[in-house]
Amino acid sequence: MDFLTGIFLVYSFIAFYFLFLFVLIYFQNRKEIQKVPPITKNYDISVVITCYNEADTIGKAIDNLAANGYSGLKKIVVVDDCSKDNSWEIIQKYEKKYPDLVMGVQTPKGTGCAAGAKNYGSKFVNTELIAFSDGDSFPEKGSIEKTIGFFDDKKVGAVTSTVLVKNRTNLLLKLQAIEYIVIKFTRKLLEFIGSIYVTPGPLAIYRRSAFEKIGKFDAKNLTEDIEITWRLLYNGYDVKMSVPSKVYSVAPHTFKGWFRQRIRWNKGGVQTMIKYGGSFFRRGMLGAFVLPFFVFSWFLGVFGLGVLIYRLAKAFIVRYLLTTYSVKAHAAILTLKDFNLVPSILIYMGLVLFTLSLTFSLIALLSIREKKEFKRPGVFIFLVYEFFYLLTYPVILVVSAWELLRGRKTWS
């Protein structure tokens, strides 16, 4: 057996393991996925919405939250992080529209990051629960109420919700819509093993005492929503997810915007891994699963991409040489003999893996019940997602690692 075959088998084994893990979790808990604990206590809650240059959406976001329908909603703090557009004027207008509910605040000087604005807004909150949302996110009516019951368990530090793409007007957005659904599905499955690793910004609710005890958001981290979740786990809190609580968020509609967002997510992920690197096999599920899972995925992604590039480069060089020699010898450049039609066992294994991952994505897609305005993605979009979109992940990993390495020189 050659080296590359060995690598392929190791990768296959890991892929089989995680696929089976998720599939088993799904089948063992499928009746629990949509369940939400009943409300036994009407916890008071305040929502902090952060805004930076979101004049187009901030008004609608406030209207949306004001009409969310939870009777314990006491305050909506809208933090303008020194926007350059007229967001602040709009916020002030909405303050007048909802005088008993909305409170507009502006950071003294732009914090330049979501974490800074969120922390600033949290200073104006004194309710038991504190929720965070974005200026371009739209929690569905009743979404807050569907998270409340989880807080009866004193160990629960945060509850996250189902984040979905609001705008699905082009191919990239439709692909992200599928991706968000798969991520949401996976996140819920991770809850069953106590390993939710992120409480995404569009709508996350924290027990304020826990939020303050652990020291609020880390403004130095590029993905404060990942970091704070890890910190909650580190400090022994549980993180839950309410699947029926949905929030629709505006996703990047250009390739550039999408790419930058992904790079930021990955860089933040790596920052978090480094920060909690000492927690391997310690601190409950953070060290037992979340951290190893992240480190493993990151390493395998980068290493796998390296192997792929090596294989492609080699194939390209061989093809170039073959063409050169074929021209020299006046022989056919490409014949049927160049394609080996005898399948190897690796092809069979690859097919099994692909089928399993396809099934997993399909289960995820079928698990979601969305508003009627959002149709289920068609076969074409789904295939593009499976065959092409997912292949961009390792590339983003490598670019973010490279940027992080370059950036680290200036941090020191």
Binding site: F192, I193, V318, Y325, A331, A332, S344
Partner: protein
């Protein structure tokens, strides 16, 4: 809600089962292919012994040179086709290594058949052409690999064009076989891949198909 951490072990067990089952299937599949080639080889070996017996009859009235020539060509053609199949199975083989020893057996057989063809040519003044192709079985250098690939393509095209009039005999030189090494040394060949046309002209560098065709009868 009680968490079920047993799922980690269950997933591990399933993954191991799938991998082991996959490996078992792979080994079975590859063994099946080896068995198939081995069966072909046994047939070829029987045919070879048959030819050796015929060789002894060549000076009697019981056997014509034409008969000997056609039997030899038929066997070499069959061995060539089996070699193509062997190559395909070899590149699809990932787990087991047994197919390599089959390759060596075939190299010995082809070497022997080549020597036999030379004898037939001498004894019977036959006019068939032989193209012997020496190459490295485990070539690592990409440049050489590409050159070998194009050589085999050129020779395949010639064989397709000339049919039974040409005997194509590919022999790997890096399999540690003494008979093959002696054959290589006898032609003072130092570079691979290389071609011997009708035991007379040696090409150590890639040439156009036409150049070789011009040398054939």
């Amino acid at each position: 809600m009680k968490r079920k951490y047993n799922v980690f072990w269950q997933a591990l067990l399933l993954a191991i089962t799938f991998l082991v089952f996959g490996l078992y299937l792979g080994i079975t599949l590859e063994q099946g292919r080896i068995t198939e080639i081995n069966d072909y080889y046994i047939q070829s070996e029987i045919s070879l012994i048959d030819i050796m017996a015929l060789d002894n009859l060549v000076e009697t009235d019981f056997l014509t040179c034409e008969k000997l020539r056609s039997v030899n060509i038929a066997l070499l053609d069959r061995v060539y086709e089996e070699a193509v199949l062997l190559d395909e199975y070899e590149s699809a083989g990932r787990i087991t290594e047994n197919i390599k020893s089959l390759h060596r057996k075939y190299d010995v057989l082809r070497g022997y058949l080549w020597i036999n063809s030379i004898k037939i040519k001498d004894q019977c003044s036959s006019d068939f052409d032989t193209l012997v192709y020496f190459y490295n079985y485990e070539e690592e250098e990409l440049n050489k690999k590409a050159e070998q690939n194009v050589w085999s393509k050129v020779l395949y095209e010639i064989k397709e064009e000339k049919g039974d009039d040409v005997l194509l005999i590919p022999i790997a030189v890096d399999t540690g076989l003494e008979s093959v090494n002696s054959l290589v040394e006898s032609y003072n060949i130092t570079q691979f891949p290389s071609i011997i046309v009708n035991e007379e002209v040696v090409f150590e560098e890639l040439v156009e198909k036409g150049v070789i065709l011009d040398l054939l009868n």
